[in-house]
C-alpha cells in the first residue's frame, strides 16, 4: 500500500496516508477484521433482563439447600444454604453488569473477551438452579448427585461431539453421529451378550461405529454425494437395521442375545472419596475414564501434533494441503472412520453402563445434541466437552425437577437445551466458524 508509486485515482478522494501511532497499535489487539456486531451484547442484555425479572424480582422467598457431600465421602461438608430471592437479585444484577460491560465495549468498537459469555453462562445457570430449587416443594437437592448425574448423562454426548470434531476438522460434516451411537449401542449389546464379555462388546461398538462412518466416508468422499444427505440417510438406515434386528434376533431370545451385563464401576481408592469431584473423576466405568482420556488425547493430537496440523489443513484449505503433499481424501477417510469409532464407544455407554439391554432408538436423539455441543464448543474438543456437560446437566435437572416438584413443567426443562442451542447458534457463538472446507468435497484437478 505504498502511495508513492500510485497516482491518485480520478474520481476517488485521496485517502490521507495513515500514520501508525501508538494508539493504533494498541487498538490493533482489540479490533479485528470483522466489525463488532450488537448480537452478543443484545443477547446478553435480553437474558440478563429475563433473569432479573424471573429469578430476581419474581423469585421465590425461600431458602434453597444444596447438599455437597454424599454418604461415601471420607469427610463431610455442610450443605450450602442460599436465600433464593436475595441471590437471584445479586446474580441477575451481576449479569446485567456483564451485559452492560459488553455494550460498553461495543460502543468503543471492541470485542468482549471470551470470559464474558462464559462467566455469564455460569451465573445464569447458577441463578436458574437456585430459582428452580427455591421454588420447589422440597427446596433441597444434592449438588454432588446433580453433578455426578450430569456427567453420566453427558458421556455419550461427549463421545458423539468428539466424533463430530474429528470429522468436521477434516472437512466432512457428520450428521450421522446419531447412527454411530445407535450402531455402537446395538453391537455392544449383541457382542457382549454372545461372548459374555462386556469389554469385547466395547471393542465391537467401536468397530460398528467405524463401519457406519466408513459408509459415510465412502459415499461422501468417493462418490461425492452431499455429506448432509448421506448423514441423514445413514441415521435412518441404522435406526431401521437395529430396529429390525432387535425385533427379529434379540426379541427371539433376549437371554442369549440381549443381556450384555454391565461394565464394572472402577473406584480409585481414597480419591473417589473427595466430595463432589470424587465421584465424577474417580468413580467411573471404563467408558467414563475413556471419555476424559479421549478429550485430552484428541485435543493434544489436533492442536499440538503434526498429524493434527495436517488434519486441520485438510479441513481449512484442501487445495493448499494437497499442494504440500498431504493426501486430502485419505486423511478425510481415516479421520471420519476414527470419529465413528469414538462415537461407537460412546454408544456402548447406553447398553453397557446406563441400561443393561438394548431397546429400539436407545440413543434417543443424543447424536443431534452432540452435534449441537460440537458447535457450541466451537469445533474444539475441550469446548465440546463442556458444552456436552451443559446438556447433560439440563437433562439431569429435568428428571430431578420432576422429583422435587417445581412450578416449571418438566417439558420446559427438557426443551431447555434445545432453546439454549438455538440461542447459542444464533447469537452467543456468532464469532465461531466451522472449518472453511467443512462439507465441501475435494475433487482433485
Amino acid at each position: 500500500m505504498s502511495t508513492t508509486a500510485t497516482p491518485p485515482v480520478p474520481g476517488k478522494p485521496v485517502q490521507p496516508q495513515p500514520v501508525p501511532t501508538l494508539a493504533d497499535k494498541n487498538r490493533k489487539h482489540t479490533v479485528s477484521a470483522k466489525p463488532v456486531t450488537w448480537k452478543l451484547p443484545v443477547t446478553l442484555l435480553v437474558l440478563a433482563v429475563v433473569a432479573f425479572i424471573f429469578f430476581g424480582v419474581l423469585g421465590p422467598q425461600s431458602t434453597a439447600k444444596f447438599g455437597v457431600s454424599s454418604g461415601g465421602d471420607f469427610f463431610q461438608l455442610p450443605a450450602i444454604e442460599v436465600p433464593a430471592f436475595l441471590s437471584g437479585i445479586v446474580l441477575s444484577v451481576a449479569m446485567l453488569g456483564l451485559a452492560g460491560y459488553a455494550m460498553f465495549l461495543k460502543t468503543k468498537n471492541a470485542r468482549p473477551p471470551r470470559w464474558v459469555p462464559a462467566l455469564f453462562t455460569v451465573l445464569f445457570v447458577v441463578a436458574f438452579l437456585i430459582w428452580v430449587v427455591g421454588g420447589a416443594r422440597t427446596p433441597s437437592i444434592s449438588l454432588a448427585g446433580l453433578i455426578a448425574g450430569s456427567v453420566t448423562l453427558a458421556v455419550p454426548i461427549v463421545f458423539g461431539s468428539l466424533s463430530g470434531v474429528l470429522c468436521e476438522r477434516a472437512g466432512v460434516v457428520n450428521i450421522a453421529i446419531e447412527g454411530q451411537l445407535l450402531g455402537g449401542a446395538f453391537t455392544a449389546a449383541l457382542v457382549a451378550s454372545l461372548t459374555h464379555n462386556p469389554y469385547l462388546g466395547l471393542l465391537a461398538a467401536a468397530v460398528a461405529g467405524a463401519l457406519v462412518s466408513m459408509v459415510l466416508a465412502l459415499f461422501s468422499i468417493k462418490y461425492v454425494v452431499n455429506q448432509i444427505i448421506v448423514g441423514v440417510v445413514l441415521n435412518v438406515l441404522v435406526s431401521g437395521l437395529t430396529g429390525f434386528l432387535f425385533s427379529t434376533v434379540m426379541q427371539s431370545d433376549p437371554e442369549k442375545y440381549n443381556s450384555p451385563g454391565e461394565l464394572p464401576i472402577i473406584e480409585i481408592p481414597v480419591l473417589s472419596g473427595i466430595p463432589v469431584i470424587g465421584s465424577i473423576l474417580f468413580k467411573q466405568s471404563v467408558v467414563g475414564y475413556l471419555m476424559y482420556v479421549a478429550v485430552a488425547v484428541i485435543w493434544v493430537a489436533l492442536f499440538k501434533t503434526k498429524w493434527g496440523l495436517r488434519v486441520r489443513a485438510v479441513g481449512e484449505h484442501p487445495q493448499a494441503a494437497d499442494t504440500l503433499g498431504i493426501k486430502v481424501n485419505a486423511t478425510r477417510f481415516w479421520n471420519v472412520t476414527l470419529g465413528g469409532a469414538v462415537a461407537g464407544i460412546g454408544g456402548s455407554f447406553f447398553t453397557l453402563v446406563a441400561i443393561d439391554s438394548f431397546t429400539k432408538e436407545i440413543s434417543g436423539g443424543r447424536g443431534f445434541i452432540a452435534l449441537a455441543a460440537m458447535i457450541l464448543g466451537r469445533w474444539n474438543p475441550i469446548g465440546a466437552f463442556f458444552a456436552a456437560l451443559l446438556f447433560g446437566f439440563a437433562d439431569n435437572l429435568q428428571s430431578i425437577v420432576t422429583i422435587i416438584g417445581t412450578p416449571v413443567p418438566s417439558q420446559f426443562m427438557a426443551m431447555l437445551p434445545y432453546v439454549v442451542t438455538v440461542f447459542a447458534v444464533a447469537g452467543l457463538v456468532g464469532r465461531s466458524r466451522p472449518p472453511a472446507a467443512d462439507g465441501i468435497p475435494y475433487v482433485k484437478g
Binding site: V224, N226, F244, G430
Partner: protein, 486 residues
C-alpha cells in the same frame, strides 16, 4: 426454417455455428446468400436444435440466444439435466445409463438387499442352512419364499388385495396408501422446495407438529359454521407450519445460524411444547389421563373422498394441488426463479440483485406452510385427534421422499406415493409374515443412498459408461438433487 437446418446434417463445417452476431467478413468464403437473414435465423435455430453442441446450446438458452446478458445461474444448474446427450452413445446405452434406469435399479437393489436381510433372519432359512450341503435346494427355496413372501404381503397391503371382498375390499389397500402418502407428499414438497433454494429443511417434523397444534385447537375449541370452520383449521395449520419454518429462515438470514442445527432443535422444541400442551386443560380431553386432545368437530374435518369405507380424505386432492402449486412456483414464477438462483449460487444471486435474505425467509416460510398442510391432513383427516404422535415420522420420511424425488415437485409426488405404499404395506406385512416394519426404513434409506450415487449402482450392474464421463455425471446429479445445497 427447414432450409436453414438442412446443411447442418452435411459433413462440411457450418460457419454459422460460431456465435450469432458475427461480422460478415469472417464468412466471406462460404457462399451463403442472404447473410443478415441467416445470422438471425441461426440464432433461433440454435435454440431449437439441442443435439448440436451442448455448451453452445446451454449458453444460448442462458442468454436467450445472445439477446440478454448471461444469467447468474447456468441452465444446467437449474434443471440438473442438460438437454441432449453429452456425447455420441447408442440409444440402448443412453436408456440404460440414464437417470430413470438408475432410479429403477436403485429401488431394485434396495429391495434385493432388504430381501436378503429378511431371509437372513428367517427361521426356516436358519434351519435349512443347517443342512445346506445335503440339500441346498431347500435352503434356496427357503430364502426365496422368505423374501418374496414378505414382499408379496407388502404389495397386498399397499396396492391390491386379491382376498378382499369385492372391488371395494380389493382396492382398500390402495386407498390406505394414498391416505398415508398425503402428509408425505406435502411435507416432502416443503423439504424439496427448501432444497432447491439450497437450504436443508430437516424441520418438517416440528413444522407438522406446530401445524397440528394450531389446527387441532381451532378444530375442537372453536364453534363455527360448516365450511368456515374447516377453512380456518386449514389456515391455522398452514400458518403454524409457516411461522415455525419462517423463524428458521429469519435466523438463517439475519444471524447466519446454520439451518440444519436450528431446524433439528426446533423439532425438539415443538415436540416438548406439544407434550406440555397435551398436559394442560386447554388441550387435554376432559376425563382422560393420557395425553390426548378432544376429537375435532365434524365441521372441522376433511370430507372423505370415497365414502366412509376408506380413510382417504380431500387432503389428498390438496396434496395434488400443492404439487401443482410448487411446480408452478419453481418453474414459472419470478419468486421460484429467485429461489433456484439462490440455491445455485447465493453470491451470484446477490450480485444479480436478488434479495437473498428475503428469498431465504420466504422459502422457509412456504416450506413450513407446506409441511403445515401435512399436519392439517393428520389432525383434520387421518387421525381426527391430536396426540404427541401426530407427526409420527412423517417429517423425517419427508426428507427421504424429497431426496428420492430429486427435489422436483412431481418427483416428490411419486416418491411420496412409493413411500406411502411402503408404509401402508408394511403394516400388513408385519401381520401376515411377522417381518418387522423397520425393514421399510432400511429399504427406504438404501434407495436414497443408491440414487444419490449413480456410479455405484452402475458399477454394481456393470453399466458404467467410459471412465472420463463418470465424474461430471456425479456432480450434475448432486446439483439436481439438492439444488446446490452444500
Amino acid at each position: 426454417m427447414s432450409e436453414n437446418n438442412e446443411p447442418r446434417h452435411s459433413a462440411e463445417p457450418d460457419p454459422d455455428r460460431i456465435p450469432a452476431p458475427q461480422p460478415p467478413k469472417s464468412q466471406s468464403a462460404a457462399p451463403q446468400p442472404p447473410k443478415s437473414h441467416a445470422t438471425a435465423a441461426d440464432t433461433a435455430a440454435n435454440i431449437e436444435t439441442p443435439d448440436e453442441d451442448d455448451a453452445a446450446y446451454v449458453t444460448s438458452l442462458d442468454t436467450a440466444g445472445g439477446a440478454m446478458q448471461p444469467s447468474a445461474v447456468p441452465v444446467s444448474a437449474q434443471s440438473g439435466s442438460l438437454p441432449g446427450a453429452p456425447e455420441e452413445e447408442s440409444l440402448m446405452r443412453k436408456i440404460f445409463t440414464g437417470n430413470g434406469i438408475v432410479t429403477i435399479l436403485a429401488v431394485l437393489l434396495a429391495l434385493i438387499l432388504g430381501g436378503l436381510l429378511i431371509a437372513m433372519t428367517d427361521k426356516v432359512v436358519g434351519t435349512t442352512a443347517g443342512y445346506l450341503f445335503a440339500r441346498p435346494t431347500d435352503f434356496l427355496t427357503a430364502v426365496w419364499s422368505a423374501a418374496t413372501g414378505s414382499y408379496v404381503a407388502l404389495f397386498q397391503g399397499a396396492v391390491f388385495n386379491p382376498r378382499g371382498t369385492g372391488a371395494a375390499g380389493q382396492f382398500a389397500p390402495l386407498m390406505e396408501t394414498l391416505t398415508i402418502a398425503t402428509p408425505l407428499i406435502t411435507a416432502g414438497l416443503g423439504v424439496a422446495l427448501a432444497f432447491r433454494a439450497g437450504l436443508f429443511n430437516i424441520g418438517a417434523q416440528g413444522q407438522i407438529i406446530m401445524a397440528g397444534i394450531l389446527a387441532a385447537w381451532v378444530g375442537f375449541a372453536l364453534d363455527l359454521p360448516v365450511g368456515l370452520h374447516l377453512l380456518l383449521v386449514l389456515l391455522a395449520g398452514i400458518i403454524g407450519g409457516a411461522v415455525w419454518g419462517g423463524i428458521v429462515g429469519v435466523l438463517k438470514a439475519r444471524t447466519g445460524a446454520h439451518e440444519v442445527i436450528v431446524t433439528i432443535m426446533f423439532n425438539y422444541i415443538a415436540l416438548y411444547l406439544l407434550r406440555y400442551l397435551l398436559d394442560t386443560d386447554l388441550f387435554q380431553r376432559p376425563g382422560e389421563s393420557t395425553p390426548i386432545s378432544p376429537i375435532l368437530d365434524a365441521s372441522a374435518l376433511y370430507p372423505l373422498l370415497f365414502g366412509s369405507q376408506y380413510r382417504l380424505h380431500i387432503g389428498f386432492l390438496l396434496a395434488v394441488a400443492a404439487t401443482v402449486f410448487v411446480s408452478w412456483l419453481l418453474n414459472r414464477s419470478t419468486l421460484g426463479f429467485e429461489f433456484r438462483a439462490v440455491g445455485a449460487n447465493p453470491k451470484a444471486a446477490l450480485t444479480a440483485g436478488i434479495n437473498v435474505s428475503r428469498a431465504t425467509i420466504l422459502v422457509m416460510t412456504i416450506a413450513g406452510g407446506l409441511a403445515g398442510l401435512a399436519g392439517v391432513a393428520q389432525v383434520a383427516g387421518t387421525e381426527k385427534v391430536l396426540t404427541d404422535g401426530v407427526a409420527a415420522t412423517y417429517g423425517f420420511d419427508a426428507i427421504t421422499v424429497a431426496l428420492l424425488g430429486r427435489s422436483s415437485p412431481w418427483g416428490t409426488f411419486a416418491a411420496g406415493l412409493l413411500f406411502g405404499a411402503f408404509r401402508a404395506g408394511a403394516v400388513q406385512m408385519q401381520i401376515q409374515t411377522g417381518t418387522p416394519i423397520d425393514i421399510v426404513l432400511v429399504v427406504q434409506s438404501l434407495i436414497v443412498l443408491f440414487i444419490a450415487a449413480p456410479p455405484l449402482v452402475r458399477a454394481i450392474f456393470g453399466l458404467n459408461p467410459r471412465k472420463k464421463k463418470a465424474a461430471p455425471a456425479v456432480k450434475s446429479q448432486q446439483a439436481a438433487a439438492t439444488g446446490g445445497a452444500a
